[in-house]
Symmetry: C2
Subunit: 152 residues, 2 copies
DNA sequence: CGCCATTAGTGGTATATGCCACTAATTGAA
DNA sequence: TTCAATTAGTGGCATATACCACTAATGGCG
């Protein structure tokens, strides 16, 4: 394959996904900036909010995120007083997470901005396309890449 | 909207995109691990390879990546001797990037693993779906979210 | 009951990415 | 030509995310 005919990176599912994520991330972050939250943080607050004092492991699983990554991501939100954690009384290994009152206020504020970004995206991309995109992404998140073990 | 009826984060385009990116990133990284490169690094080396000693700005634009982020991402690759930079003789503001011989070798090695990951993805997701996904992601990357300025 | 395998998180380290302020090199206009 | 505006990168700082080794709690088994 000569260099002249090499395909772009348009062929790599992963590269395309990251590239689109950067693009969309920049846009959502931009719209959310007035709240002082990144889109990822808003998403995390929301995830915590809709859960019933979810355990860290449960949040990580929902978001398909490494547990330790979640721990790190949570730190600024705790530091800023939006989130607090407490040990599950029935199993002290488990740490549960909830929003503080300020966290709830901040989430409300951020959600307003999120709606703007979301609406703008739907307008620009088209509702159909957006819908299909989300469905496709959801399927990907649900895929199982494990090689089936040689059944003995 | 009561808490019981709150939708999941399945509605947020950005959140879904990031979630899928984490999932796929973990998979690709896993397959590429034997090469010692992350999928992002392989993608970057490839992008450099298919360019003609591209300028940093050109790479960043292709990847829709912040220029300074590119600079940071490049550092480990330079440190490990896979990539080198040099000033454009015609415009010394411009820094061009190219693979070193070792970089080329490493890219070859990584591409073999990439093919495995890519093929496995296509198998699991289905070629049609993968194709459509990439197309959708490419469209997103091409969207323009700027609000049209009030034409005076 | 006592011990080991499992489970849930933590902390460290490294890459990925973005924004901002700043510098260097170029360009364009007075 | 000279100086202001623009362009290309750098460096610092902060968040996002992953993996690994380690610790604390549980749970099950002999």
């Amino acid at each position: 394959m000569s260099k002249d005919t090499l395909p772009g990176l348009t062929l790599c599912n992963n590269a395309m996904l990251r590239r689109a994520a950067r693009k969309l991330g920049q846009f959502y972050d931009d719209v959310m900036a007035p709240s002082g939250l990144k889109a990822t943080q808003q998403g995390l607050l929301y995830q915590i909010h809709i859960g019933d004092e979810p355990a860290m492991g449960a949040i990580a699983a929902s978001l398909i995120m490494d547990l330790s990554a979640l721990g790190h991501t949570l730190k600024p939100l705790i530091r800023d007083g939006y989130v607090e954690t407490f040990a599950d009384p029935d199993d002290r290994r488990i740490k549960r997470v909830r929003l503080t009152p300020q966290g709830l206020v901040k989430l409300d504020e951020a959600m307003k901005l999120w709606h703007i970004a979301q609406q703008r995206f739907e307008d620009v991309a088209g509702n159909d396309k957006a819908e299909r995109l989300r469905a496709a992404l959801d399927e990907i998140a649900a895929l199982d890449f494990d090689l089936p073990p040689a059944t003995p």
